[in-house]
Amino acid sequence: MSQTKGSSAAAGEAARRRRLDWIAVHSVGIAAALFFVLPFVFLFLTSVMSDSQALSGGLWPNQWVWSNYVNIFHVPGFLTWWKNSLEYAVLGTVFTVLSSVPVAYALAKFRFPGRRLALMAVISMMMLPPQVVIIPMYLFWTNQLGLTGTLWPLIIPMIFGDAYSIFLLRQFLLTVPTEYLDAAKVDGCGEVRTLLKVVVPMVRPAIAAVALFQFFYCWNDFFGPQIYAASNPSSWTLSYGLQTLHSAHHTNWNLTMAATLLVMAPVIIIFFFAQRAFIEGVTLTGVKG
């Protein structure tokens, strides 16, 4: 009798502990969520303030000026920046995927002398800060090819494979069982057909992740456009043009914040549609596939 009483008291104690634990975890969770979400909220609230209020500050808009989101498109160049960003990101992504898949396949599945060396070369290239080689590259694109002032010096290299994408795809391709490839070869497929008919359909999620990363990389790139496109405003991208708004265009904070949120929007919208592929890709970058 007393024994059951004791154990039910212990069970009650455990339930109470669990409840307290739940409350503690979720309180910390809500506090953390505020830290991550509030910046977006304040950016948004400022983006719909009137000009005069944006100058003086304040947290809540006195009146909601939705037309800011229309007026920002009247800022000279803003539409051109969109066009250029899209061009850079779309072409860059397509080129990268087309050129990187075969390289990753060879590195993951072929046995050939120098294979390890080639992999180390890919990793070295992946880790190379882009600023290290910028002096000779700038001279190359300017003096040899006269392409400075355009985005081509940033897009053309992607025809030759992107180290980061190659590495990521290779990690994923390692998980494809070699038996499938052997079976395809027994059926008389060459390496090219095996890649297209067997491998590519199997690694579609990885290809999606690489495409997303590359799109975001181009969309976010600041250093590249700063070096090659700065001299020619008609080649500016959003990431480069955005930071000139407040300073050079003397654009008020409300319009600047509207533009800032608009630049974030495509990336966040794409993320919601492709969340799975994206998270999978991020996990893939940290050790092991």
Binding site: L59, G114, L128, V133, Q243
Partner: protein, 318 residues
């Protein structure tokens, strides 16, 4: 003396064929490697010993550029000090915070998906947009953060406009974008075998001991990975530093533009900014810019080799 057995002709033929097929697949990348990595790297090394302005032919000056960068160029040591500060504070803060948020996310039971998305989204914000956003939020005059601090009667720092606060402000921005580390830590936390926690619980371990003796040892490789990649990222830290300085000082970079690099008071100089400043901003001193490039390269590769050795998963020999 050991004699290598002769390779049978059939095998040698197969190997040659394997190499040919591999080369066909690798060809585009091999060209890319030569043109966009090997050549510019060698050229950078060559330029670092030349006086070169990009127009007149380069002339050999021996170690003069190196001497100039180390002893005369006024921004080199501030950039090194800032980088060291970022390597220590930013990397430590991001690793600890990322692990903390990762642990929090694995323990949240209600609305887990919603929390996860909220924690992850800021990482996706394009760096330029995120930095401008923070430069606004933290701007000392009209920014919401100082507005709230003022209402609460708390001190209002100068954030990006105060040399003592500019780097901590960048850390705040770095913590906001913790999503990448959160996902990686989350995945590896879920991989820790539950039996180990149960066994520790039976031995009477409390939550702290479980963390110390079960979680940490299991997460060691991923922590090393986070720290080393964090260091490499900090070596090439560029966009947030330059954009925050520009927006806070009300100037912009770019050709024909003037801005105050390192604003405020040299507190945000980083190594890549030196390359940009020496090579592209009126200095036209491509030789000295190349010296900084070589230094940056050696540092980045040193840490990369650490990653290749420590982290067997990166090479993933099957």
């Amino acid at each position: 003396m050991k004699i290598k057995p002769p390779v049978p002709p059939a095998l040698r033929k197969r190997r040659r064929r394997d190499l040919r097929v591999a080369l066909a697949f690798l060809a585009p990348w091999l060209i890319g490697f030569a043109v966009f990595f090997l050549y510019p790297l060698l050229a950078t090394l060559y330029f670092s010993f030349m006086h070169y302005d990009g127009f007149n032919p380069p002339t050999f000056v021996g170690g003069r550029n190196w001497h100039y960068v180390f002893t005369v160029f006024p921004y080199f040591w501030p950039a090194v000090r800032n980088t060291l500060w970022l390597v220590i504070v930013m990397v430590a803060a991001r690793t600890v915070f990322g692990l903390g948020i990762g642990m929090l996310v694995t323990r949240i039971k209600s609305g887990a998906g919603l929390f996860r998305t909220a924690f992850y989204l800021p990482y996706l914000a394009p760096p330029v947009a995120a930095t401008i956003g923070f430069a606004f939020l933290l701007n000392p005059g009209t920014g919401p953060v100082n507005h709230i601090l003022g209402d609460l009667g708390l001190p209002q720092p100068g954030w990006f406009n105060d040399p003592r606060w500019s780097k901590p402000s960048l850390v705040l921005l770095g913590l906001w974008g913790i999503g990448d580390l959160m996902v990686i830590f989350m995945a590896s936390l879920l991989d820790v075998p539950t039996e180990q926690y149960e066994a520790a619980g039976l031995d009477g371990a409390g939550p702290f001991q479980k963390f110390r003796y079960v979680t940490l040892p299991n997460l060691r490789p991923i922590i090393v990975f986070a720290v080393v990649t964090g260091v490499i990222t900090m070596l090439q830290y560029y966009t947030p530093a330059i954009v925050a300085g520009q927006v806070a000082s009300g100037t912009i970079s770019g050709s024909g533009q003037t801005y105050l690099p390192g604003y405020p008071d040299n507190s945000t100089w980083t190594l890549p900014q030196l390359i940009y400043n020496l090579g592209f901003q009126s200095n036209d001193d491509l030789g000295s810019a190349s010296v900084v490039s070589i230094i940056l390269f050696v540092l980045a590769m040193a840490f990369t080799s650490l990653l290749m050795r420590r982290n067997s998963g990166l090479m993933g020999e099957d």
